[in-house]
Symmetry: C2
Amino acid sequence: MRGRPTSRYPLSGRSTSADVARLAGVSQSAVSRVFTDGASASAKTSAKVKEAAEQLGYRPNRLARSLLTGKSYMVGLVVAYLDNYFYPDVLEKLSKALQQQGYHVLIFMAAQTAKNIDNVVEEILEYQVDAIVTASVALSSELVDRCQSEGIPIVQFNRVQEQSLFSSVTTDNVKGGREVAHHLMEQGYQSFGYIAGWEGASTQRDREAGFTAALAENGLELGFRAIGNFRTEQAYEAAKLLLETEKRPEAIFVANDAMALVVMDVLRHEAGLNVPTDIAVVGYDDTPPARWPSYDLTSFSQPADEMVENTVHLLIHHMSDNDTEPLQITVSGQLKIRSSSTNVKKVSDAGV
Amino acid sequence: MRGRPTSRYPLSGRSTSADVARLAGVSQSAVSRVFTDGASASAKTSAKVKEAAEQLGYRPNRLARSLLTGKSYMVGLVVAYLDNYFYPDVLEKLSKALQQQGYHVLIFMAAQTAKNIDNVVEEILEYQVDAIVTASVALSSELVDRCQSEGIPIVQFNRVQEQSLFSSVTTDNVKGGREVAHHLMEQGYQSFGYIAGWEGASTQRDREAGFTAALAENGLELGFRAIGNFRTEQAYEAAKLLLETEKRPEAIFVANDAMALVVMDVLRHEAGLNVPTDIAVVGYDDTPPARWPSYDLTSFSQPADEMVENTVHLLIHHMSDNDTEPLQITVSGQLKIRSSSTNVKKVSDAGV
DNA sequence: CTGAAAGCGCTTACAG
DNA sequence: CTGAAAGCGCTTACAG
């Protein structure tokens, strides 16, 4: 780097600890100490340094620091889509919570394909993040090993891997699916449909498994099933199929709210059906729009606050001690019963 | 750092270019060259190095690299809230677009207060980001100077500063406000209300200025005004005030969709009013929910794709050349007319 | 094409 | 408490 022209202020006018030291008349180490918590510096030195720093607009270079300390104070977040409004909410909360702990979120958008996700994570590792959070995506086990061996903790948000090789925070999706089934049966609905999310997702599989298991225990089964892949466009197609089906179910469970809202709109506005008297609709996630009066959608709530809180705890825990075992945390969700599935008439009928 | 125990593999098992060099039997510089685009390395060396790297799971440390190159390939994004669904959309698009250019987004959540935003930006600077994008927030001019002198370009997304000290990407909000007024007048509405966003925001001021100016040109003025601050809870309160007002306007323009949806729900579901025959509602942003059939909200569209595209161009432009002048880019939006404001009966009345 | 060496901005034992 | 020095992992002229 000898040929560099402005070698005293290399990063375009940004001043360094050496500049501050020169101005304050102390050593560069002294400057560093003043900006390091718990390091020893006299009040006098500290004052001189702080004044010089102020004057030069100096702030320590975190990247240089991280080279020595091995901590970047960055957490990589891998996320597939933000049009499911559960995730913006989570992102905002996660980001704020981590910020309070001195960390910041570096975002990586990934397509759902395993190959793409792995590439993305490889890139994340180059940035020396202290930990990785994956939301709505799953990593290959090779990459998990890789992160493991490099000591980078991973927390999966809203997804579990079979092998439980690393930590995760989820709600009990099987239980959620069961509760939806019980609720609909209690309301007197007698035929049921399901619109699935992406079949590679544990959340999708568990929700469906719980739902169909509870139905089966009561001698019932799915009369309609279509795949929406957690995408609104595909949910639209699935809703069209639902309208075309010969024996339309009385109640439909949709694997998440983002899709359920689309389904509800198709039923009401394209087919002129009444929800819930013609057909009940239940979603999952309890995103803000589910609560909007125009929808008033029954939904199994995944408590974002609590999930984020647990995620942050797990991250801090794993980052402070590399040898901790992975933990699977299950937060309990709750069925939020609203008018999209409460058919008063049917309940009394059923009582007969 | 002499006392460090595992000095050969300091970052918990992560291997370095020196490790790869040792295994491949070449110099550390050679390894570096193989991983640098456009650097000279023979096919033989390259092959040896790549194999060794693969074996050790080596990837270059970007933080160390950035110390030398002065480029971190990180862009700081300052954002105040993600519950206005315009922003998650923007974030997803911005993140993907930058990722394609080799950059990644480091997120900073900031409260709307100037003091808080400045603190946040100071912190961003420590991370040595190559550029900063602010969305829905404004910086103090001191901090702008600071970034300027450090050569960090800033692009304001969806906000302009009076002094035009730095680049921005917006739609023409004055024009947007005017178009809303013209549309409502054409539809035959005769009395008008406005629910304002945060008054510190240029978007708010411009939308209102355009709206009231167009009304004034036709001898009309605002019969109702309340402040919603771009927050849904406050929009709810504003809607309540609207219901209590003595002479309820025939049409209400709400400064953004996030608030307009709340207002619409209050009008319909709490007051039993019909939109648009009892009262018309118009929003701004054209967020996805505005298009949902349950709302079908007329809204002035801010084209997220085009705005993001321009933002990325500006960023790349400024990052490649520090001495470029700030640019104010105005993307043209478009009024999306939907049923929340199209009162066919009134139109024919007005024709009489 | 290749290796030895300097240096990016910082932290941290070490010796005073 | 303080300064000189080593070193984090890397890039890049320089000389061969």
